[in-house]
């Protein structure tokens, strides 16, 4: 192995390196999302001083703390409003929202709908980790059918891409962190979009799997989600529920001018 003489990761320029290693669990997809985001910023040659990062609570809330952009961490349920207000005052900024299920489905969905309808120019990178992390066995609107729910949740899971398309989002894609390359090119795509763009990242929480004693090992988990997902570009967003016996559909579904 080459001895590490440079001591500097290429992404370090965009990070507060003092707080790395991050708080995230070993093998959590959020780190990969942040890493691909930085690489997308580098590759797209966008002026990084024009990027503003907003995040809410929970594990994705920490994103704003590590990223050395103009970044804000806001309170629960206010993340979309906050971002839209920033955008309305600073028209030339690219505002990127890192949201999770608690920010989005549980308390921010009404704001999201309003903002999407108005056509506010936001980039939403939604990390769907399938549960609340803080309350290990909590069931939320995105919890899939019996396969995942510890509490035998029989509700239909909420279909986030379909919600976004119904209200007029301009770009919708869904990936897992393990398809990091695809995810990065989606992020590069959305930098040139006007109007709301949504990238959903299915990144199941380690805590859930560890506590459920099924897949404790991050690599096993990665292989599982690789095996049970399938890429279908341009699939109709109505079919995108994550259900028990179907494969998770990944791809780029909506790409409007």
């Amino acid at each position: 192995m080459v001895e590490n003489t440079r001591k500097l990761h290429p992404a370090d320029y965009f990070l507060y390196t003092d707080s790395i290693p991050s708080i995230w669990c070993p093998g959590c997809g959020i780190g990969t999302v942040v890493n691909t985001f930085i690489q997308a910023v580098e590759k797209s040659k966008i002026d990084f001083e024009k990027i503003c990062v907003v995040s809410g609570i929970g594990c994705t809330g920490k994103v704003a703390e590590y990223l050395n952009f103009m970044s804000f961490m806001t309170i629960n349920s206010n993340v979309f409003n906050f971002a839209a207000n920033i955008k309305s005052e600073n028209v030339d900024l690219k505002v990127v929202v890192f949201s999770n299920n608690a920010d989005f489905l549980v308390s921010g969905a009404a704001d999201f709908i309003e903002i999407t309808e108005k056509g506010v120019d936001l980039i939403v990178i939604h990390t769907n980790n399938i549960l609340y992390t803080i309350t290990e066995h909590g069931v939320i609107p995105a919890t899939p059918f019996v396969r995942i729910s510890v509490d035998q949740n029989f509700q239909l899971p909420f279909n986030i891409p379909h919600l976004a398309e119904s209200y007029g989002a301009k770009y919708i894609a869904r990936w897992t962190p393990y398809r990091a390359g695809w995810l990065m090119y989606s992020m590069i795509d959305v930098f040139s979009k006007k109007g709301l763009s949504l990238i959903e990242v299915i990144s199941p929480c380690l805590i859930y799997h560890a506590s459920n004693d099924r897949m404790g090992d991050s690599v096993e988990r990665m292989k599982f989600y690789d095996k049970y997902s399938v890429i279908r570009q341009g699939e109709c967003t109505e079919n995108l529920d994550i259900r028990a016996h179907n494969k998770i559909i990944l791809g780029k579904f909506v790409n409007k001018k």
């Binding site: 440079r6 093998g27 990969t32 990665m222």
Partner: protein, 86 residues
Amino acid sequence: MKASSNGVKVKGEIFVIKDRCKGCGFCITNCPRDILELSAELNANGYHFPVVKNPDNCNNCGLCEMICPDFAIWSVKKEERRVVEV
């Protein structure tokens, strides 16, 4: 190894900041050329970090760098002239 059109082999050199690594193993499973393996020793936080077991095969694809959640590994391009046999 694949040579690019101008007769130059693209090779990569791997760097690891071992104390940042959390031993998740993503880089090892993702590497298409089987370059990395987990170390026997532990880093400062008690995790096994990746080490390079066969450095000559790395083609600088950057997949390990892209997937690492903790900004611990990256590859740098190292070009090598192809030896022309006469």
